[in-house]
Amino acid sequence: MSENSKSTWIFGILTCVFTCLTIYFVRSPKLFPHEYKEPIVPPSHLAGIPSGTIRISAAQLVKSGADVSGLDCYSCHDPKHPPVIKLDKEGQVILPKEHIDLIYSMRNCDECHSADKGYKIQYNPDGSTIIPKAHQDLTKMAHGKTFKNNNCYNCHNENQLNTLHSSVGTKLTFDQATQLCAGCHGTIYEDWLAGAHGRTEGYWDHSKGPARKQECASCHDPHAPAFTGIIPMPGPHLLHPEDAPKAVHP
């Protein structure tokens, strides 16, 4: 074949290929194979701003002007006969079942549960709350890991049930409960005063607004102060899930 006709062949082939490519590029080929599924994130109030508290303390209830008739101890108890604390065979306090509903009513379930998954408080036929297994320790007296602070009257005043008293006998009202906690938990109280312990909400710059602290009992149930578990929110996503490491991280 002469040089000239070889060139013609080459040009012919190139023309054909270019034409095919033109058609190929114009047909819309699959562009972006990834489809990112929207991650399942609970409603924004859970990720929430401003912060809620895990429970509503008696003092908060009183301050907010809520119905506190259920907190009047002497609507059930006799002022002349201080209630007797019942102990189980290990010497641990048995929480009266009448007080269990009080515990649940003061809890902010939303802080740990996600409202979209739904949670339902279930009741016994006699109207008392059924305790879910996961919450058994919420309804025990569990103040401290060694349960040595489980005597009700260490904090409550047996002769005047609507007050508290400190370890040296100072009488305290319910909204002075923080002073009671401070009597044993002094270092944490100092931290709390400085703002280094506990949730704060609002302004770091106090000239612009307040930094709202919480009282001890708004986060910690004095009867079982340790926090129970929270369901964690979703973790990070890889941009290219197909590149996810297949080997398990030891």
Binding site: V41, I49, D191, G195, S207, G229, I231
Partner: protein, 309 residues
């Protein structure tokens, strides 16, 4: 080979075949560029010639803010309020995180996503929480990033959230070729999203995996937009630019706490002005056992981890 030194014109045949091939080639080139037809986010002239944030005059700045408000309204149907907040005098921000109390719930992660208009698909999270074993180790390689137990905290482990440390000696600021990221006088390392060229050198430089890049156009559901925006903070970004934690500049420069701090249920996060001796962060730095990550690198982070119990 053809004689190169003469100027004889080509023969008709060689002209024809060359022209045919060239035309087909030009058609192929045009159609190769066909995907660009779908391009709808080409920058406007104003956006293209916009100067660096620090070089804008007040009039130019308010014109830019207005333009951004218009763009966001057009895209999401909500009229936002985009501000350019100045740093406060006599303020240097410091963040302290209590490793004894963090329970690993990741509420801070998602509060940040909600507050800062981050892309949900793919989801960009500025904060990365590591689940570390209580083994006497601080070896980050042993951290689990993808933990998903039924409830946290998990016995035998502690949790360590990592986000931008706003270092005093930031490697990311040093390497940016166009100074799109810099440190403001109040300590916050910021990014001008309209100046960043997307080279990702800062992402390679950061020793804490704090920086994120928009590999695709972010997608935010319209009902989740937070309309309180700031130029250097949480206004919606576009593909091809970097972003990262900015200490919620739209909140903190107004004196408020960052979103991650307010969402934390255990109060593990503390933030404030370290130049104020009465602030909680000054108290923590003075009284607690405080450490920083990768201190040997000399980055001088402003993010401290401390222990209580």
């Amino acid at each position: 080979m053809a004689d190169l030194n003469t100027e004889e014109g080509m023969t008709r045949r060689s002209f024809l075949r060359a022209t045919t091939a060239a035309t087909a080639g030009a058609a192929a080139l045009t159609s190769a560029l066909a995907p660009l037809q779908k391009l709808d986010d080409f920058p406007s002239v104003d956006e293209f010639i916009q100067k660096h944030y620090t070089e804008l005059s007040p009039e130019q700045l308010s014109a830019v803010l207005k333009r951004i408000e218009n763009e966001v309204q057009k895209q999401y149907g909500i009229r936002p309020h985009v501000r350019a907040l100045k740093p406060m005098n006599g303020v240097e921000y410091v963040y302290a995180l209590n490793l004894s109390r963090c329970c690993g719930c990741r509420k801070c992660v998602h509060a940040c996503v909600a507050e800062n208009n981050q892309s949900r698909s793919p989801e960009i999270q500025y904060i990365r929480v590591l689940k570390m074993p209580n083994d006497g180790t601080f070896d980050l390689e042993r951290g689990d990033h993808n933990y998903n137990p039924e409830s946290v905290p998990v016995p035998g482990h502690f949790f360590m959230p990592i986000q931008c440390h706003h270092c005093k000696n930031p490697p990311c600021v040093k390497v940016c070729p166009v100074k799109a990221t810099w440190q403001e006088p109040d300590g916050i390392t910021v990014i001008d999203y309209n100046w960043c060229i997307g080279c990702r050198y800062c992402e390679a430089a950061c020793p804490y995996f704090a920086r994120r890049f928009n590999f695709t156009e972010p997608s935010i559901p319209k009902d989740k937009i937070n309309p309180n925006m700031s130029y250097l903070g949480n206004r919606p970004r576009h593909k091809g630019v970097m972003e990262k934690c900015h200490f919620c500049v739209q909140r903190t420069r107004e004196g408020r706490y960052p979103a991650c701090l307010e969402a934390c249920p255990t109060g593990s996060r503390k933030f404030g002005n370290v130049l104020d001796p009465e602030s909680e962060v000054s108290y923590i730095l003075k009284n607690k056992r405080v450490m920083v990550l990768k201190e040997e690198l000399g980055t001088l982070p402003r993010f401290f981890y401390y222990f209580d119990i």
